[in-house]
Amino acid sequence: MNRQTILIIVLGIIGILLPFIFPAYKLQISFLWILIVLALTWDIQGGQMGYNTFGNILFFGIGMYLCASIQVGMFFPLSEWTASGGEKTFVHEPDQFFQGFFVGILAAGLVPAIIAALIGYGILGLRGHYFAICTLGLGIAAGEIAGGIELIGAGQGMTVPPWPKGIGDTELRAEFFYFLSFILMVITFLFLKWAYQTRFGLILNAIRDNEDKAEAMGIPTMRYKIIGWVITAFFVGIAGGLMGNMVGYIEPVEVAFAGATLGVFMILMTILGGKGTLWGPVIGATVFHLFKEGFWTYFLGWQYVALGLLIVVIVVFFPEGLMGWIREKYPEKFGETVDEEDQKSSVEL
């Protein structure tokens, strides 16, 4: 077993023990796992492939609304649920809650993935700023549209079925969502760790470095771009479905299609940790979450100023992110030692 495997196992065990060591912070740590998923998946396009996207929040919001709507709609008329304040009128039995939740989460992953595949061909044909702006538009438009749909509560939002009565307390609920978000994060991480070691990972990097060259070498770049986008949409959609359940209340622009907060945070976290690396988004999200929670606790009123300063510090002192900084200091740990003589050697033919 190499060092990285041991590290992953140790962190995994810590992740399992955390809710019992810090029971008061269960929900906060669950949010961290979701943030890591958002950063890891943002990095597929933003880091590994070099396509800055502002649109991932689209999949997050769709996953969230879809999951909640299915949880309700499988058993009650959705329009009456949203119109009447939900759980005050209708009560989910435990069976209904878990069945609805299971189907909802599945759809929260699959439907955004299908949408990504359908819109991918058009959007991923755009390059650079055009791609960035187009994805930004998608996220904003989705929030506006969701705010106009009465069925899902329009601008008022809707509630998600609460934890069913009669099975455990709020602690059990918190543990349930803690472990689900933890498992989602672990699967996302392990999947990407594996995928980046295959042809897929190498080709994303080739697209990042020179897409024209990749095409000239016969690589069907569009296929790889779409597959990457579908993977992102799948995991982000599930994260949205879970998040909706953890928050309990969905609103279009601040919770679901939260481009101005989560949509920006996922980019900041990745850049802070180091774009285009596997561990960068994990480290970035963790450091970011700790700072942010600290700011919200200790600098209330000034939290956004503190956050802004943090961003400036990142960009100025760690332009390549924390991982990039570590990599530069200890290149041998990344198998990157380059012999000086090789570097200087002249080519002979």
């Binding site: 295959t198 042809r199 190498l202 990042r208 470095d209 000239a216 070498m217 090789d342």
Partner: protein, 247 residues
């Protein structure tokens, strides 16, 4: 003669600039053919037309008897028609080995090969080819850290890794240390002879093209000025005038 590449009355203009006019040429399977002409005469444009970088205005381009003028770039490349770039293009943040490995053309290129693991033999093959172009000691360096000339050599090796049937080389010796030029001529002749790859080479250096090509086409102002054996071209007054007139 079996033509591997056949151009018939190809036209391409950019706004008012007629970059290629009425270009017809044939490249014989297994040969080395030179494409010369003063700067701006439309050589690179012709390469771009052949490999599908831009649509042509009219005319026909056939590769192995198959019309390719409407096909997208990756599809033409997968047929076995590759080009290298005048201004080098490599994957700058990947090391040379990875640049090579990603250039390998998978035999089965279906959906399932997307997540296939790169077999270790590819690294061996990559190292051999890097050795062939003199870059073995540079194999662990990032491609972006190589000099311009070294990147040209890397591009050549990447193309070989892909095992094309025909290779279009855009000024392979430009920017390369003059002491290496004979080595490159030798390598290109071996690529043609040992690997069986047909070569169409844009070349500015007359000595190189005369030593390499069996047949030469000369462009001027976007039109085909002359074609023939190296001796014919060297003595052709129109070719001499075209070069002297520009430089």
């Amino acid at each position: 003669m079996v033509a591997i590449l056949e151009l018939n009355q190809v036209y391409k203009s950019f706004g008012g600039i007629k970059a290629n006019q009425n270009i017809s040429l044939e490249v014989e399977q297994g040969s080395i053919v030179g494409l010369i002409g003063p700067n701006g005469s439309g050589k690179t444009t012709l390469f771009n037309s052949i490999v599908g970088t831009h649509p042509i205005d009219s005319g026909s381009i056939k590769f192995n008897d198959k019309e390719v003028s409407e096909l997208p770039v990756p599809v033409i490349a997968k047929l076995g028609l590759l080009r290298t770039f005048q201004q080098t293009r490599v994957y700058g943040k990947l090391n040379c080995i990875d640049n090579m490995v990603v250039s390998h053309k998978p035999t089965k290129d279906g959906l399932f090969s997307v997540f296939s693991v790169m077999p270790p033999e590819l690294t061996e093959k990559a190292e051999k080819l890097l050795e062939f172009v003199g870059l073995y000691r540079k194999r662990k360096l990032l491609a972006g850290d190589l000099s311009f000339g070294q990147q040209k050599l890397l591009e050549m090796a990447m193309a070989l890794m892909n095992e094309p049937k025909m290779l279009l080389l855009d000024e392979p010796t430009a920017g390369i240390n003059p002491t290496l030029i004979n080595g490159i001529i030798d390598r290109l002749i071996r690529v043609n002879g040992e690997f069986g790859i047909t070569l169409l080479v844009i070349e500015h250096n007359m000595r190189v093209v005369m030593g390499l090509a069996q047949r030469i086409f000369c462009l001027a102002h976007g039109e085909m000025l002359a074609e023939g054996s190296p001796e014919n071209i060297r003595d052709d007054q129109r070719v001499i005038d075209a070069y002297l007139g520009v430089q």
